[in-house]
Symmetry: C2
Subunit: 383 residues, 2 copies
């Protein structure tokens, strides 16, 4: 009661300030400005930039996850920096240098833990998501790639040199338990988990195929699928390694960018066999499914990195080609799929497309933009 | 308290006010208090109630959708009231009485339109999501049931008496176009869209089976699937109609509460045939898939409405039974599946469970709670 009375005595300016500053965080996002070490904050309703946060270190190959309330972005820098950025006040809330060389990270299912994956010295470090206090470390003796969260507060990742997949149960975060799956294949270079949280898949660089783990039955180990995937048989020059985090799950199919080849491979999630190959303009980097739709959008390595091609899943062929700008590095959809956000590094721009008409809805200035991450990822497994 | 007031008079006080009032909206939710005509606002991180908004009219059978920024809840009341509630300031921003008798609503893919489905006079009304201005009306001459949003700013719904499914393209919201699919089956009573936005399915009350529409090819019309579903052959007394909006899609399977029978039917999304029937304690009402997991949770009609049973999708059988309270009306998962929120009307409580351990994490007092809706629905097609 006293509190209420006192609040009513507050000057009007305070109340209006608090009301006008309020905003939802479901339509926010972050664009990585890799050269400047900054991130640009955006919103997807009016499609504008609303702020910028610098001082984040080396953001080449940066990745980002979001807190479960969609207020904070955790930025994993290449230099081992881990920063917690408040999207509402546009400032760094906390920042630690957690290793010498990091490549990605993940947030636990319950949102209480953040895990950073390290090249050097190799391993993962688990932090309290609130304070960034270091809770535990899992040493691997090999580069960690393809880290994802999985149900049960687990983190799953692959070891490049060792050819292993590790499943870390962090339910007890100061003393996590580790399950090691050995001999999963040569040189896993990236990995992802299916949207239902059941299957972890690692792409192999050292041989053809992918390693598949059923996380409902990890004791069964990994099996090899899609022997035609990879570059083992007929190695081609690879201008840029594809990313598997931009997995494209559309209905029963997964669309996987081939390594070095000018095609996307389509993996049937029921039979785990190859369903199709779709010819493309160049070497694909990301293949991303448009949510709630029937399209998969693909960007490319040099020399075709000014193009984006759109695959129709029903027809299993390219139906549209866009030219969003020079050096297209990434693309991200709004969660219900009505907009595609595409970064063009060499044009210092982010282009926003209407996915129904392919009309350009907006073009935002950004300094050498790379990754684009929207807060809707906070609600998704494996992002 | 005095300190707070003094601080608020200083210039710095304005900053601290605005910072302390800021919060993300990704972990918010709403619990319908049907008897009081109010909603309780909750957050799922600390699992607490943070406010209450009254004056919402008749909330029996109320449904709720969220704005794309996850700040506003649109509440569709049984009395035709449509209210836009600001979750951050806990107040009604706008409210209209849009018809005499409504049963549900949906929000368009782009978040700009809200559609209310009406029993009386029958039809849907399309409103501007910002202002609640009426933009257009589609008259049907029959009760509208099972309204959902679908990609392409479409609304899809069924007509109970007419036995039709209508697809309304609201891209031009003042002049929507309508596609009518006739003879889809007798007395469709509810409907849902698959998470990928491709298939609309209506349950039939007047005969056995479900009506399936491929929204990629609506010109092909509806086909009948799962002839064993329904009550046409051997009608049983139905104590409460099951809801299909709580569809449960787990991998390739859909789990559908049978009408009147003590079982869930499992529909294979690849072959569209019956994959299994799972015996249950009573007549199921909602069957809801735990996100990122392998469980489906089911609640029941009288006299078993104090129980919740948990199905393991891998084993295709019940593996757990909970007793959350008397008259369990609804359940909702946090978007990554670590918590289950369950309303117990006759115990005036909402129970929150840890889905990994089934431990009760919290129990919140609520006045005759029914539906529970979390803001993560803002990012999902068909919710």
């Amino acid at each position: 009661m006293k509190t209420l009375v006192l609040l009513s005595l507050l000057p009007l300016g305070v109340l209006s300030c608090s009301t006008s500053n309020l905003r939802g965080t479901g339509d926010l996002g972050v664009v990585v400005e890799r050269a400047a070490g900054s991130i640009m904050l955006v919103e997807t309703t009016q499609r504008t930039a609303i702020g910028r946060v610098g001082g984040l270190g080396d953001l080449s190959h940066a990745s980002i996850v979001f807190s479960r309330d969609a207020r904070y972005a955790y930025v994993f820098g290449r230099d081992g920096g881990l920063s917690k950025v408040d999207l509402l006040s546009a400032r760094i809330e906390r920042r630690v240098i957690q290793s010498g060389n990091a490549i990605g990270g993940a947030i636990s299912q319950d949102g209480r833990l953040v895990a950073a994956a390290n090249y050097t010295p190799g391993g993962i470090r688990i932090f309290d998501a609130g304070t960034l206090e270091l809770l535990s470390e899992v040493s691997t003796g090999a580069k960690v790639v393809g880290i994802v969260d999985a149900p049960g507060n687990r983190f799953v990742f692959s070891l490049f040199e060792a050819g292993e997949i590790w499943i870390v149960d962090a339910s007890n975060p100061r003393n996590p338990s580790v399950m090691r799956l050995a001999d999963i294949g040569k040189q896993p270079y990236d990995g992802f988990v299916t949207p239902d949280g059941r299957h972890y898949i690692a792409g192999l660089y050292g041989e053809d195929g992918l390693a598949l783990v059923d996380l409902w039955h990890p004791e069964r180990g990994a099996r090899r699928v899609l022997a035609g995937y990879g570059r083992g048989e007929e190695p081609l020059p690879v201008f840029k390694m594809p990313h598997l985090r931009g997995w494209a799950a559309a209905g029963r199919y997964l669309f996987l960018p081939a390594i070095g080849r000018h095609e996307v491979l389509v993996l049937d999630r029921i039979s785990w066999t190859e369903a199709a190959r779709i010819p493309l303009r160049g070497q694909p980097v990301f293949a991303v499914a448009q949510p709630g739709g029937r399209r998969v959008w693909v960007n490319f390595a040099l020399p075709h990195n000014d193009a984006v091609q759109v695959i129709d899943v029903d027809a299993m062929k390219v139906v549209k080609e866009l030219r969003p700008g020079r050096a297209v590095l990434h693309l991200e959809f709004t969660p219900r799929g009505e907009q595609a956000w595409i970064s063009s590094r060499d044009d210092d721009a982010v282009a926003v497309y209407d996915t129904a008409t392919y009309a350009e809805l907006a073009r935002l200035a950004a300094a050498k933009p790379s990754g684009i991450f929207l807060t809707s990822r906070a609600a998704m497994t494996g992002f």
